[in-house]
Amino acid sequence: MLLFRSEETVDHWCQAHRVPRRPLITLGQLWQLAVIWYANRLTAESRRPAADEMASVFAAVGLEGPFWDPKADTWRSAI
């Protein structure tokens, strides 16, 4: 995932790399994900969320749909 100043520069990047534009998220959403994912990473109990947990995490910050489904195999046609 990459950082951009604006949606306009995202579009320029996608055109330059000949890739379709995918979902954008805000800095606030990304910070929430970073905290959920990594706040306990330096502890013995830390682990990567399982697929079902990931879907719940994404939904909790407003990210839903096949693109955010770790088990999806239909994202190509759904985007």
Partner: protein, 149 residues
């Protein structure tokens, strides 16, 4: 509490990175925890299977990624605790202050224009900044090529 080898190795890796801002080799981890380097390399492989670690391609004794930390310099430096850490992506760049529970400055840039785009974490929050984050790869495929993702 007695920890299993994989957990002991994981903690040694993350403690070393947090302390030094550099990823340890299998030999360094082995010295730190009093194990054989071969045992630690095997633990690296198991931690990779748990998606907690990415060994260096072609050299399983070295660490490319211990998310959110990168074992090599990247376009996402993170300044915290008076050190310069490196993250694997912009998500991980925020993940480093989240993991360290520290303020941080992230001197990043717009991926297309190169315009400087500094992010900051202060008092447990990301300081608002005019920016967006683009995910090019869907979640189901992130670990197909995690270094690219």
């Amino acid at each position: 509490m007695s920890l299993d080898l994989d957990t002991t190795v994981k903690l040694a890796i993350y403690t070393t990175i947090a302390e030094t801002a550099a990823a340890p080799t299998a030999v360094a981890v082995a010295q730190r925890i009093g194990a054989a380097p071969q045992q630690v390399e095997a633990a690296f492989t198991r931690l990779y299977e748990k998606r907690l670690l990415v060994p260096e391609p072609g050299d399983p004794s070295r660490i490319r990624m211990a998310p959110p930390f990168s074992g090599v310099p990247t376009a996402f430096p993170v300044e915290a605790r008076g050190k310069r850490y490196y993250a694997n992506c912009v998500w991980d760049a925020l993940g480093i202050p989240a993991a360290l529970h520290e303020d941080a400055v992230i001197p990043a840039a717009d991926a297309f224009t190169g315009e400087r785009l500094t992010l900051e974490v202060k008092a447990g929050r990301a300081v608002p900044q005019e920016c967006v984050i683009h995910f090019a790869v869907p979640a189901a495929r992130w670990w197909e090529d995690i270094i690219y993702t």
